[in-house]
Every structure is written in C-alpha cells, then in structure tokens.
Amino acid sequence: MKTLRQRYSVPLTIMMLVVAFLCVFPIIWLILSSFKQPNELFSYPLHLFSADPTLVHYQNILDDGFMRYVYNSFFLAIVGTLITLAISSLCGYALAIYRNELKYVNFVFGIFLLGTLIPGETLTIPQVSVISALGLYNNIFGVILPVVTSTTGIFLFRQSYMSLPSSFVEAARIDGANEAKIFTRVMMPLQTSSFVTLTIFSFMWRWNDYLLPMLVLSDQDNFTIQVAIRNYIGTTRIDWSSVISSSVVSMIPVIIIFVILQKYIIGGISAGGVKA
C-alpha cells in the first residue's frame, strides 16, 4: 500500500483523466443530445441531460426507412470483410511461402506496393467509370469489389507467414499434402490472430466507408448509413434531428467491437502500420 502511494501521483492521474474525458465528451454530448426534445436542442440555456427524454429523433429516421440503411451497411461490412480475409490471406501466404522458390514473387509484391503510393481518393473519377462499365453502378457490389483488396491485409499475412519456419511447409510436402491442403490444414490455423486483427479492421473500414458509396449508390434503397447521414446534412440546411440520431446509431457497432476486442486493435497498430 505504501509503495502504491509513492508510485502514483494524484494530480497527474486526475489531469490525464480530465484529458481523456474531454476526448470523449463531444461523443457523449451528441448521444445526450439525441434524447432531447426538439425545443431543448434549439434554445438556450443548454443542459447536459434532457428534462423530458424522448426517442422522437430515432423515430424520425426509422420512419424514413433507416433499417434498410443499417442492413446495407452490415451487408457491405460483412461481405467485404469475408472477401478481404479470403483473398488477402491467400495472397499474403503465397507471397511469403514461394518467395525463395519462384523468381517473380517479389515483382508481384512490388505491384501491390504501388497501391500504397497513390491515395485511392485521387482515382475516384476513373474508378466510377470502371464501376459503371461493369454494370455495378448503384449496386452494393460496386462499392465492395473496388475496396476489398487490402494492401494492409496482404502485408499483414505476408509478414506473419514469413515468421513461420519453412520446415512446416516442407514437412507437409514430404507427407504428400498438396499446396492447397498445406494452406488450409497446416498454415491457416497457425495464424488465427492475423485473421482476427484483419477482421476487426476490415469491418471498421467498410462500416465507415464514405466516398465511393456516396458516388456509386444513387438509389435511396441502396444507401448505407454514411450515405444516409450525408443525405440528411443536405446542401442548404442540416436536418439535425436525423443527423444526430443516425450518427449515434452508426457509432454503436464499432464501439462495441472496440470495447470487446481492444487488444487486437492496439496490437495491430503497434505491431506496425495497420491504419485506422
């Protein structure tokens, strides 16, 4: 007890707690606002808590068909993540395992490196042309397929399979396993933590995707939550009631995932370069 008292400084701890609280305060303020009566939102004095909490803002977006957007966002995030996991684990694995056997492996790796040089945002105009040419305009797959190739995911798997001794693969080959079986039965089960890390990040990236969905999903039935929020913001006057409640809904899944799976997220960033 005595050592504890010596170790921790109360003023420093309080200062850091205040900083941390200030960081989440804007989010708390938005959440508390979402339960206020419309007249409480737009009149002074402001209060932290509503005198008469209401769900009217949530009712507004439900009446607008918000569940459809929630469904589309989940579809984008889940299907996008499954494809990303499948193709980047295969690709990263191949780039790691065959790097000493085949000459052009590093050349292929170099092609993917190009993707890290240029931000996708600068290529949206021709990307939308390609999406349209493939008949994917206003189709949820038009915003899934362009973004599922994740250089981060490929790097992550390449790195983690390079850390395994190559004797694993050689032993399995001697036992007569074919290349596909070696991947699915021997190597894949050894990298569950990479799968978990990429699942979390990919889900959050796709859930928060904004630019391409906004440009490609023109029909209201196909809107994701992010596109719907932008639509509520409008061009002249913001529909705050809908913007606030839909923003709060959009935070729920990512915050739940973070609270449960924190260590994978922090680990993924510290281990090197998984971008948030």
Binding site: Y8, L12, M16, L17, V19, C23, V24, P26, I27, L41, S43, Y44, P45, L46, I87, L90, C91, A94, Y98, L102, V105, I111, T116, L117, I118, P119, G120, E121, T122, L123, T124, I125, P126, Q127, V128, S129, V130, L134, L145, T149, M204, D209, Y210, L211, Q226, I229, R230, T235, I238, S247, S250, M251, V254, I255, F258, I266, I269, S270, K275, A276
Partner: protein
C-alpha cells in the same frame, strides 16, 4: 525431372493464390490509374462526348485560379494543423506511459474512442458542438460574457473547426504509435537518468524525444498525407463553405469531375495530385531508410 514437376505445381499454386487479389487490384486500381492518364487528354464528360484534346486540360489546370486556390488552402490547412497533430499526441503518450499515472488502460481507451468514428461522423460531432446557433461552444462563450462567434460564416473559424475535428479524431491513433515507440526505449535508459538525478523534463528532452525520432517522423508523414487529402470531415462540417473557402483539393477533384461533368478535366487534376502524393510517399520511403542507416 521430379524437381521440375514440383516447381511447376508451385508456380500454378502461386498464381492461383495471388490471382483474386491481383485481378481486383488491376481492375479497380491499375486500370483506373491508366484511364485517368487517358481521360486527361480528352474532353470526356462521363457520358457521350470524348474527343482527344492534347494538352489542353493541363494548360487549363495551370491557368485555373480555383485549382491554385484549392491547393493553397489545402497547404495552409495542413501546415496549420501539423504541429497539433504531431506534438499533442506525443505529450499525451508520454503521460499515458508515465509510472506516476494510475488507470492508464482506461485513459488510453477513452482517448482512442474518437478514432473509431467515420470521418463524416467526426465532422458531424464537432460541428454540433460548434454550431453557431445553440451550439455548446457558443453557449459557453456567451455564458462567460463574450460575443458568440460565427463558426460557419467566417472562413478562418470554419477552417479551425475542421482542423480541430480532424486532429481530435486522430489523436488516439497517433498516441498509440508513440506509446509503441516509447515502450521500445530500454527501461535501463530511464533508470540511469533517474540515478543521475535527471529531472522529468530533462529526461523527456534528452532521452525520449531523440530516441522517438523515427516514430515522430512516421506520424509527421502519415499526418501530412491525411491532412492533404482531407475530405469527409469537411462534408460533415462546412461542405466546402462559406462559398468555396474550405474546399480542399480532393473535394475540388470530385466537384469538377462529377458535379460539373468534366471527367477529362477532373482526370488531369487527379493525375497531377496523384503524382504529387506519390512523390511524398517516395520521399518518406527514402528518408526513413536513410534515417535507419544513420542510427
């Protein structure tokens, strides 16, 4: 004979494993990149017209004052935001690693939470606090007896709000990068400093800061790139207003391409900006390698 057979099998397996990623990457990244070069020499309107116009688009870009304004604005915004973006998370990370601070895990978790929000929602959340009428910040300002500020109609204040939102949402991420860097510094260094009677400030300036240089460098470059391509946060706050006073370069590309149906012209701008980003990324690669050699 046997070796040749098995290496052929491995070649097949390699291409089979790589093709899904490579095909999608080619269709949605390499092809668009080549297309953007191609479009940039035409007057394509995204619909029917497409004539070869030579270098006209590029000549027009150089004379386009809106383009240069957008570039200038983006650079000013980036330079203004960078110090906060790079040093604030560093200071917070130092305290979030300090032996003297209790509940470190809880503190880091709270600071990280804003990183989880989409950029659009980051914009919305901060915009709601800075709303000119009935916003919390103006309410506090008025309660203290000052005049409320016109956060949306004054272009400097509007830029400040965007910068505030963007720096707020990246604070936790950069803090985690710094914490990783601090943890990799050997504890013996700090013990030796403590034995020698070094003050906390001296320890920070003489040990933490110099040894963290590679992390600081990483944060500096990641932040520069993210600030230069700021887009979604702005959509949640000003959508480019007042007028075009907060239109940054990515928004300018998108507006000229889609809203004004000038795919060819937009592509020329895209290509110039893409090359600009590629140069920054290349410099980062070169400089960080060099830094590694020197250490």
């Amino acid at each position: 004979m046997r070796i040749k057979h098995s290496s052929l099998k491995h070649t097949k397996a390699f291409w089979l494993f790589v093709t899904p990623s490579l095909a999608l990457f080619t269709i949605f990244f390499l092809v668009p990149f080549v297309l953007s070069i191609f479009f940039s020499f035409t007057d394509y309107d995204g619909w029917k017209t497409m004539n070869f116009v030579g270098l006209n688009n590029y000549k027009a870009v150089l004379k386009d004052s809106y383009f240069w304004d957008a570039i200038g604005r983006t650079l000013v915004y980036t330079v203004f935001s960078l110090p906060f973006r790079v040093f604030l998370p560093l200071i917070i990370a130092v305290f979030a690693c300090s032996r003297k601070v209790a509940m470190k895990g809880f503190i880091r978790t709270l600071i990280y939470i804003p990183v989880l929000l989409s950029s659009l929602v980051v914009g919305v959340t901060i915009n709601w606090m800075f709303s000119t009428e009935y916003g919390l910040v103006n309410y506090i300002i008025q309660s203290l007896g000052f005049q409320p500020l016109d956060w949306a109609l004054n272009s400097k204040l509007a830029t400040f709000v965007i910068s505030f939102a963007s720096n707020w949402s990246s604070l936790g991420f950069n803090m985690i990068l710094y914490i990783g860097g601090i943890k990799s510094i050997s504890g013996e260094m700090y013990e030796a400093a403590e034995i020698d009677g070094s003050s906390p400030l001296q320890t920070f300036l003489r040990i933490t800061l110099p040894l963290l240089a590679p992390t600081t460098f990483l944060v500096f470059f990641l932040s520069s790139i993210n600030l230069l391509k700021e887009y979604a946060v702005v959509q949640g706050i000003t959508q480019g207003g007042p007028g075009v006073r907060t239109v940054f370069i990515i928004q300018y590309i998108i507006t000229s391409g889609f809203s004004q149906m000038q795919y060819g012209y937009g592509s020329a701008i895209s290509f110039i900006i893409a090359i600009f980003f590629a140069i920054i990324a290349f410099l980062q690669f070169k400089l960080s390698n060099k830094g590694g050699e020197n250490v």
